[in-house]
Amino acid sequence: MIPLGHFLILSAILFAIGSAGVFMRRNLITILLSIEIMLNAVNLTFIAFGRHLGRVDGQIIVAFVMTVAAAEAAVGLAIIVALYRHRESLNPEAFTSLKW
């Protein structure tokens, strides 16, 4: 049986990859994908702990997170479409007019 530590390390690696994507990529869609990776890193942690503790709570929360993530992806993509129509760009640096 794979020990809990392995799952957590994998999860941490996935989360780091996701965060790096959010902060470093210059494309809104990629950023959205990176957020999905971060979410799934968290899901993996929940599942791992659920199994380790022998309880179903982790799996229930993961089901919720997946639902919300699906909805979020839909809304997020819709916003990205709207933004693209507005600025002809997907670079997040193009959308900084809400400042001082």
Binding site: S19, V22, P92, T96, S97, L98, K99
Partner: protein
């Protein structure tokens, strides 16, 4: 019944101030006069009631309600009529009524609204004055005291579009405030030390204390009250407002600035006779200030050229006499002079008003002269008033002034007596200078100097004498000036000083009754002094006749020879200038440079603006953080979470 007396003028004020604009002059003026008449009649009735009582029990109390109740300390809104206030209410309502009647004619050229405004102020004044004299405690008196000050301000500045009138009103108000400040302090001292503000209870409490030979609490209290009196009654050092108060309409000068309000200080000292008697040092000071004021104002009066200013200085001088009387302990004599002075000074002011009215606003006596034939009623009544104030025997002023001088001499104040006698000479001289320059000789001003007279179609010889309403007041007051003194004929002349006896219980001073019973040696002393003062009066009149009728050249050469003295007198000893330099300007400079430009602008505004600019500057730096880049926000959030978590994990 007592509260009716001030109520009538108050009603008159309410009606005239609210509806006056729409009322015709006959109604608003008539209403105001009627209110005064009603209040005079009620006063007469209650004084009659009072006279029917036994001398020691002559007090009528009327408590309306408890005004302040705090622990043991209570102040009622209460009126009290005793012998002293009886004299005062008769003077205020009686002379007040005559002046209201006079004003109906004098102010006739005003518009309806202004006319009603004038009468509403006049009635309001009468109301406050009656509250002042009827008040049974310091606090009620103070309400009236402040109220008459307010009305004085309003009436001096009645023609407020004229800058000098508006300034004079402000000056009167500010100078009075200085006195009132001391009055309040005195009142508070009495309230804390004696625990009551009711005049009778204060008098009873003070009567139980020893007479202060050193400067103790009673002395401080009475000194503070006296400073209040110097403000209201125009004594040194706060007399400067009264001559300027002549900017108001002449009947106002007669009522407020001669007959009634300015005597409030004298009345207040009389009311607190027991308190002042227990502070002989302060009483001495009262006498000295009174005498000094009398002399100083007399010397100024002799060179002034404005008919009303001469009368104003004469008022200051006569008030000085009253304070002299109060100061030597002759409270009865002081009130007696107050009462006779109210008649003849009101008469003189109204007479001068008639002259000014006839000459369409001319007030400079150098431009008058020869008015005797054109204005017979005014002339004769004015002459009676002048004779009375000069102290010519058998007129009212003689009896009262003589009593003051006698009491001064009798109590051993020989120097003050000399000052009083000298002032008496000055009084006779400047009053008859006024009479001779105004009414005798030839008219001295050509029509060319006054083009507006041509427009009115007024020429020499076409001057109109006082109209009926004015003549009525003048004649009644002239009769009063002749007979008013006969209530206090001294024993030495075989008379009976009934006013002195009437007032004695009001002062609660034991010695008062004994004083009036002068017999034998003192009687002959009194007669001697009487002869001296009569001689002084006649000499003063003769001097005025000689200098201003016979040998005007002597006056001219004297004023040239002593040009410096003349200039000092003409400029009123430069007191106004001195006050301006020592008090007004420093206060202005400190206020402007120190308080305004220094404290207010630098410190207060600086603090407020400083806080503002610190916040602005801080915000200007901090707003750079809001870059609008969502990634930057998310980054800082991420860093924050890592730091917080790191802290907890590595702890």
């Amino acid at each position: 019944m007592l509260s009716l007396i001030p109520l009538f003028p108050l009603l008159g004020f309410v009606v005239n101030s609210t509806l006056g604009r729409r009322l015709p002059k006959a109604v608003s003026g008539g209403l105001a006069s009627l209110a005064m008449l009603a209040s005079f009649l009620v006063s007469a009735v209650v004084v009659w009631q009072l006279a029917g009582m036994a001398p020691e029990e002559r007090v009528l109390d009327e408590r309306l309600y408890t005004w302040i109740a705090s622990g043991d300390f209570t102040v009622d809104l209460a009126f009290r009529l005793d012998a002293l206030s009886a004299v005062m209410i008769l003077v205020v309502t009686g002379i007040g009524f005559l002046i209201h009647v006079y004003s109906t004619a004098y102010m006739h050229e005003e518009t309806d609204g202004e006319y009603a405004r004038y009468f509403s102020y006049l009635n309001l004044f009468a109301f406050f004055m009656l509250v002042l004299v009827l008040g049974a405690s310091f606090l009620v008196m103070f309400v009236g005291w402040e109220g008459v000050g307010l009305c004085s301000y309003l009436l001096i500045g009645f023609w407020f579009t004229k800058k000098s009138a508006a300034d004079a009103g402000k000056k009167a108000f500010v100078v009075n405030r200085i006195g009132d400040w001391a009055f309040i302090l005195g009142m508070l001292l009495i309230a804390t030390r004696i625990g009551s503000l009711d005049f009778v209870r204060v008098a009873e409490a003070v009567a139980g204390m020893p007479v202060e030979t050193t400067f103790g609490v009673l002395s401080i209290a009475s000194l503070l009250l006296f400073i209040g009196a110097t403000g209201k009654s125009a004594q040194i050092p706060l007399y400067v407002w009264l001559p300027d108060a002549m900017e108001g309409p002449t009947p106002v000068s007669a009522l407020i600035h001669a007959a009634t309000m300015v005597t409030a200080g004298v009345y207040m000292i009389g009311r607190n006779a027991v308190l002042f008697s227990h502070a002989p040092g302060v009483l001495e000071m009262v006498a000295v200030i009174g005498a000094a004021t009398a002399l100083m104002a007399g010397t100024i009066g002799i060179v002034q050229n404005d008919i009303k200013r001469v009368l104003a200085y004469s008022t200051v001088s006569q008030l000085g006499y009253m304070f002299l009387a109060m100061g030597v302990g002759a409270f009865g004599a002081g009130i007696f002079h107050l009462y006779t002075h109210a008649f003849f000074k009101a008469l003189l002011f109204l007479g001068s008003g008639a002259v000014i009215h006839a000459l369409h606003g001319e007030q400079d006596i150098r431009n008058m002269g020869g008015l005797k034939r054109a204005l017979p009623i005014t002339y004769w009544t004015f002459l009676i008033g002048s004779l009375a104030i000069a102290g010519v025997p058998l007129l009212s002023g003689f009896f009262s002034k003589d009593e003051i001088l006698f009491e001064t001499f009798h109590t051993g104040h020989t120097l003050l007596w000399v000052v009083g006698a000298l002032t008496s000479l000055l009084t006779a001289t400047y009053m008859f200078r006024l009479v001779f320059l105004t009414f005798h000789g030839e008219r001295r001003h050509g029509p060319s100097e006054h083009p507006e007279e041509e427009e009115h179609g007024v020429h020499h010889g076409h001057l109109h004498d006082a109209p009926a309403a004015m003549a009525f007041a003048l004649v009644i007051l002239a009769i009063g000036s002749i007979v008013a003194g006969y209530v206090g004929v001294p024993h030495a002349l075989g008379g009976h000083n009934s006013l002195g006896e009437w007032l004695a219980p009001a002062f609660h001073v034991g010695g008062e009754a004994a004083e009036s019973a002068t017999v034998g040696e003192e009687g002959s002393l009194e007669i001697t002094l009487m002869l001296v003062s009569s001689a002084i009066a006649v000499f003063g009149i003769g001097l005025a006749w000689f200098l201003w009728r016979k040998r005007q050249d002597i006056v001219d050469s004297l004023s040239r020879r002593f040009a410096g003295v003349h200039r000092v007198l003409l400029n009123k000893y430069y007191v106004d200038e001195a006050y301006d330099a020592t008090i007004v300007q420093p206060i202005r400079v400190i206020s402007q440079e120190g308080l305004w430009r220094g404290f207010d602008v630098r410190v207060v505004d600086g603090a407020v603006n400083g806080v503002g600019s610190i916040v602005t500057g801080g915000a200007w730096t901090l707003r750079r953080l809001q870059s609008g880049s969502v990634r930057a926000y998310a980054g800082s959030l991420f860093v924050g979470v890592v730091l917080v978590l790191g802290y907890y994990l590595w702890r």
